[in-house]
Symmetry: T
Subunit: 149 residues, 12 copies
Amino acid sequence: MKEILVLHGPNLNLLGSREPQVYGSMTLEEINRRLMAEGERLGIKVRCFQSNAEGALIDQLHEARGWAAGVIFNPGGYTHTSVALRDAVAAIGIPVIEVHLSNVEAREEFRQRSLISAVCWGKISGLGWKSYWLALHAFALRFQEDEMR
Amino acid sequence: MKEILVLHGPNLNLLGSREPQVYGSMTLEEINRRLMAEGERLGIKVRCFQSNAEGALIDQLHEARGWAAGVIFNPGGYTHTSVALRDAVAAIGIPVIEVHLSNVEAREEFRQRSLISAVCWGKISGLGWKSYWLALHAFALRFQEDEMR
Amino acid sequence: MKEILVLHGPNLNLLGSREPQVYGSMTLEEINRRLMAEGERLGIKVRCFQSNAEGALIDQLHEARGWAAGVIFNPGGYTHTSVALRDAVAAIGIPVIEVHLSNVEAREEFRQRSLISAVCWGKISGLGWKSYWLALHAFALRFQEDEMR
Amino acid sequence: MKEILVLHGPNLNLLGSREPQVYGSMTLEEINRRLMAEGERLGIKVRCFQSNAEGALIDQLHEARGWAAGVIFNPGGYTHTSVALRDAVAAIGIPVIEVHLSNVEAREEFRQRSLISAVCWGKISGLGWKSYWLALHAFALRFQEDEMR
Amino acid sequence: MKEILVLHGPNLNLLGSREPQVYGSMTLEEINRRLMAEGERLGIKVRCFQSNAEGALIDQLHEARGWAAGVIFNPGGYTHTSVALRDAVAAIGIPVIEVHLSNVEAREEFRQRSLISAVCWGKISGLGWKSYWLALHAFALRFQEDEMR
Amino acid sequence: MKEILVLHGPNLNLLGSREPQVYGSMTLEEINRRLMAEGERLGIKVRCFQSNAEGALIDQLHEARGWAAGVIFNPGGYTHTSVALRDAVAAIGIPVIEVHLSNVEAREEFRQRSLISAVCWGKISGLGWKSYWLALHAFALRFQEDEMR
Amino acid sequence: MKEILVLHGPNLNLLGSREPQVYGSMTLEEINRRLMAEGERLGIKVRCFQSNAEGALIDQLHEARGWAAGVIFNPGGYTHTSVALRDAVAAIGIPVIEVHLSNVEAREEFRQRSLISAVCWGKISGLGWKSYWLALHAFALRFQEDEMR
Amino acid sequence: MKEILVLHGPNLNLLGSREPQVYGSMTLEEINRRLMAEGERLGIKVRCFQSNAEGALIDQLHEARGWAAGVIFNPGGYTHTSVALRDAVAAIGIPVIEVHLSNVEAREEFRQRSLISAVCWGKISGLGWKSYWLALHAFALRFQEDEMR
Amino acid sequence: MKEILVLHGPNLNLLGSREPQVYGSMTLEEINRRLMAEGERLGIKVRCFQSNAEGALIDQLHEARGWAAGVIFNPGGYTHTSVALRDAVAAIGIPVIEVHLSNVEAREEFRQRSLISAVCWGKISGLGWKSYWLALHAFALRFQEDEMR
Amino acid sequence: MKEILVLHGPNLNLLGSREPQVYGSMTLEEINRRLMAEGERLGIKVRCFQSNAEGALIDQLHEARGWAAGVIFNPGGYTHTSVALRDAVAAIGIPVIEVHLSNVEAREEFRQRSLISAVCWGKISGLGWKSYWLALHAFALRFQEDEMR
Amino acid sequence: MKEILVLHGPNLNLLGSREPQVYGSMTLEEINRRLMAEGERLGIKVRCFQSNAEGALIDQLHEARGWAAGVIFNPGGYTHTSVALRDAVAAIGIPVIEVHLSNVEAREEFRQRSLISAVCWGKISGLGWKSYWLALHAFALRFQEDEMR
Amino acid sequence: MKEILVLHGPNLNLLGSREPQVYGSMTLEEINRRLMAEGERLGIKVRCFQSNAEGALIDQLHEARGWAAGVIFNPGGYTHTSVALRDAVAAIGIPVIEVHLSNVEAREEFRQRSLISAVCWGKISGLGWKSYWLALHAFALRFQEDEMR
């Protein structure tokens, strides 16, 4: 059975209570619950992790090399500033999809650049919790294709 | 029954034969066929249109105001240069998802900026034909949510 | 009798229904009607044309060489991106006034630069339909001055 | 009876003798005379003021709060450098039209940016003395519309 | 017999009458006539096409995939703004030479960047109609070399 | 007894009536009154001056060399544009605290740069009239420290 | 009784021994001691925390949501690089004052931009330990005003 | 007898006491005295004027049109920020030499650009009071050449 | 006996398995082993530490103040983004040599700037594990020179 | 008989052995031989010169004033950095064609700008040795046209 | 007797015949002759040297360390591009005055920056041959001042 | 026996006497002597060359193709400006180590960019004469590794 790491970056633990007009009113626990349920339906085991610390996120990506077939990664504010996280994504050799709840390109100038995107497989943004949900389905489709080969 | 416009921008008519290492080997017809079939399964009518002309793409967006509940739009090379298409997307008042086959942020500097993204609902890129397929599912989820309200 | 081309660029066909808080609630037909009526009063024949296609706007400018004594041009979103339209304006040797309904300089950064302005006779912006109306009067004053010489 | 302040910025006192190929050969007195006469015809009292001093121009804008229904403002060289004048325009809560005799966008790079435009009602440039004359008519049209409401 | 597409971009239909001090006094028809005659002499069939529309130029490039051994392309004002045309040139897999009548690098800042050049075989500019004539000879030399291999 | 100059720049005379959502509803007179009262309590004589003229502000700074032990300076719109005021602050050899009522860094791009800050002792911004009040206390603390040495 | 979090960012633990010509010779412990004493005098409970880790600072800001009425935050080197800390400040909905010991705007170019300032209530810099002391008084004044309402 | 205006900009009244390591220890009066004496020796009448106000400097330049054969102008801090002074220099049609006491190009980045230089006859900087003295001799040489023609 | 801290930044724990074409196939343990052995030969005690966390790297630098005579520091991805690490290097008053395995200047644009270099003693890059080895010898030479004084 | 200088800049002496995938495998001698032979056929005497020294290239351009009717110039790496060579080309008053073997616009960012182009008659690039060959023909055509006048 | 090196950079050997509308019609020999004559009158020995080669100019500056009390240096096109010449000027420890015949700041953008100025004593530009003549007098005044000390 | 070229760029001949606080007090001869002695110890023949001329440095690099197994290159001021030297380094196909005596990244902005680094094997800077000494050892290690293969 394939396993997927869902990795949430800084401030995402506040989801639901933090600026709901930007990030929606669903909590992180609810998103994780939905992903795990949908994963079960798709035959994919989903493990979730959140940290506000750049180093801990890097550690998680490194560890995922041992067990994960894919990573769904919302780097939050580190998206725009972290070369170290980019290097980690590039180093682990696992397909990563970058996700964002909000439409980052409709926001401040400094949010226009992602240091992470160029080393990911793809990116889904702006669709709220559905950004994660669709990323999970992208992996499901990919695993299917891989099997068919 | 909800209807969706799938709008393909310049050079996408060449899909399959054009630089397959970048854009994949699936033709546009095959992508359209898959979307219409999946749409049928989801209870969504999918109409597809391709043009190399900026003006014709604007015209299609305007016309969609009369019938479409959502637009899946791959603006191709116009993504980075067309204020006129951005204004059209902003003007029609229909949710639009921007899609890209390739990971545009891993390519040339001038492809880093999208003039379209800020006025869209969301964006899916890098996942090949699956970018379109997931956008269709995003609309399916949205329509479900709308109904539940 | 002098003739004037009023040339409307992309998305202006949606006037009245498109974001009225930015562009006002008057339709393009109503603006054209007012300009033709006022033109008649001033002894100037006004012909109006709208297109969403850059190429068609260039074609109209070229044709105007045969009959028009002036052009009132709202290039819409092409204002900021079209060297081809700039070249057309410079090529035809007819005085052109650039007009805008909204105050473009109070909007997004990418709207701050006009590629068209430098080759026009003048520019009127921010005054809604009155931008066009005043441009017509500018030509009336100019034709009067030309006659007096 | 509505009153309008016509405010001329630095170096405009030299009009007529200063670089006539750029600014025309009409003196400031002649422009003011024409505006006052046309104002009288339109039922608008026109008061004119010129200063080379940024502070004096700010003072005039402040005082206009007590009596003027509109301001026609040619900020001259301060257009591109004065945040203080921008703040004054934004502070007084009266509609202001920025005017320029020459087509500033066809000139040096540093003249491409106006700090004033974004807080004005509109802008008219490149049409010589007619820039002022049309701004006066813009206010006449506006006052008419206001009365009709 | 090898065939070559000569593709003229926007405003080139005005050649001869448009700013002759920049673009020379030879008409487009005369240039086409010379190229076809010289082509005949070199054993190359030359077909010419002009359009002011970006989309139509893309369409012509796509169609050339079926018959042309080379393209001589003057993208005019689209040189500096069209990613879509660049993508078309890259997609068709035929050698393209970019030509310009005038020395674009001696003109405005925004003409300094060509989006097209990087995906062409080469570039010839500044030499008036001779830019086209030499591009034709470049293809003649190339075809000769190809035969010798 | 130590004396302090409180120097208010352009448009601050309008305080209370000008955009109260940005600048608060307290008038300049009230701020001055509070500063003089608090100064008295702290054993510091406070003198206040406002001008819209850059030159007059420079003159006041020069004169302060004769009598002031410190300057509390709100340069308003000149903050971002005046090298001359910066030179005056640097020239007089008196500690200066730059103050701002609003959080200038949360506003337009051109307000992000202060030409004055680098030559001041410190800066207090965003806290409304309290910005001034705290600057006064900063001087009180400094004078105390100076006495203790 | 109101409580305030005083949050010290990276390298501030070295205060007193680290480059005293820039940061002064007072230790962090001494600053904290003074703030707690002055807080007691003002009826405000002051709690202090220092960390060199971005993630730990974010965690502290999140926790402060449960108990603090205000935050005095010196983000040190993270001021100029951390979008994640900015997001945390914006997310917690508590007024934050950014403080700096040194006059950062008189230092290197990369220290000119603060990512934190725009989401804070205000900013105090350059005044050494007094920057903190005055921030505490700013909160005291604010709490007084809140009570009076 | 030819007359020359020596125009000193903001803060130059402080010469001698202001940062002598940058600007030297000679007072403005002493410089003026030397220039008038040397002028007398060369048969040139020298009139000196200083102001901290941009508007007053513009006024002086305008008035010089009536009597001066040349202007020696040290625009001080306005050098880098004043389009209005540039326009005044360009408008008056008298040769102007820009002078600076210090080597401005060895100082801050924002002092690297002079808005004034491009419209002057020439520029002398870095040589202390000798910058003025040499500018006076430049005019003496020029007047000699004019006479010889 | 002198002691040296060898400090490895983020992702360096993956050395050997991570993109060996960029970083070589030697593991971090092997590099550390070689450095300790060579250190022993040179009479220098070498202690090694790796962390993916910015804060932990800062902590190590701070602690090194107590025992180390020099630091060999590979900041990895933090090289280009961390002002906090720069401040730590500047604060500790110990000579630091920045090392990189790869030739960072031959890579992406955002890797061209090092925030750390300016506060280091020197820098060695591009030479694989030999970058560290040579840094160790640089300290050996320096300690020799210090002794000779 | 007309004479042409073919001037080769730095590193071109290595042609054939230097990076043949970029510059082709033909030696400089072979290119010169072909140009002289073709020149003979066209009735043009061709003289060739190569130097790695900027000063020597300037000297050659100066000397060409005495005898050459045209210059074919490949400035190599000096293309992007030498104002002195640009000035030399502008100074000599002979038509110059800039040539490049490779498509410089498809290479590094710093190769995108040519300081030389703006003062040349035209430019031919990307076509290998044929770039030179076509430049020779451009002069042949020009000389023919001159004769016909 | 003091000696001065007058150092002329690239293309200055063409003076008189090269673009006289920019550089005047006086030859370099005539300028040198005048400087030597005036030098004799002032008790200063003037030696002149011109080269088109950057390296030769550096060599001359180095040699001047042995004999010259000052250098008058017109770096021509190297002004804007040569760090090596800047380093040479900084290295030799002799006062250098940078001179230019034309007003470089009224010319192309790339001529706005001088790499040389910041390490010179001063700069004189725009005054034709008089720029040199005045630089010689600057040294005469300086030598007088030095003697008086 | 392997041979190494040590190539010194402009102004390095002045070492020892030139700004010793930046470059140290050791002469170039002394550095060369040490390198040759250490080379002998390591079984490497070291040849040294210095020139102030860009062209001569290129010539030396070209010649090194015939005999050298490595180059230690201090390009001095040409580091930041010479595309021609970069091309030479890239062309010769010999490993090159760029060295600098001073920490160039702690100096002026224009010294932050090296055009040479990206085509070198590695870079050592800031360590004075030891930069060269370590580069020699880097080659010694490399030659050892090559032999072991």
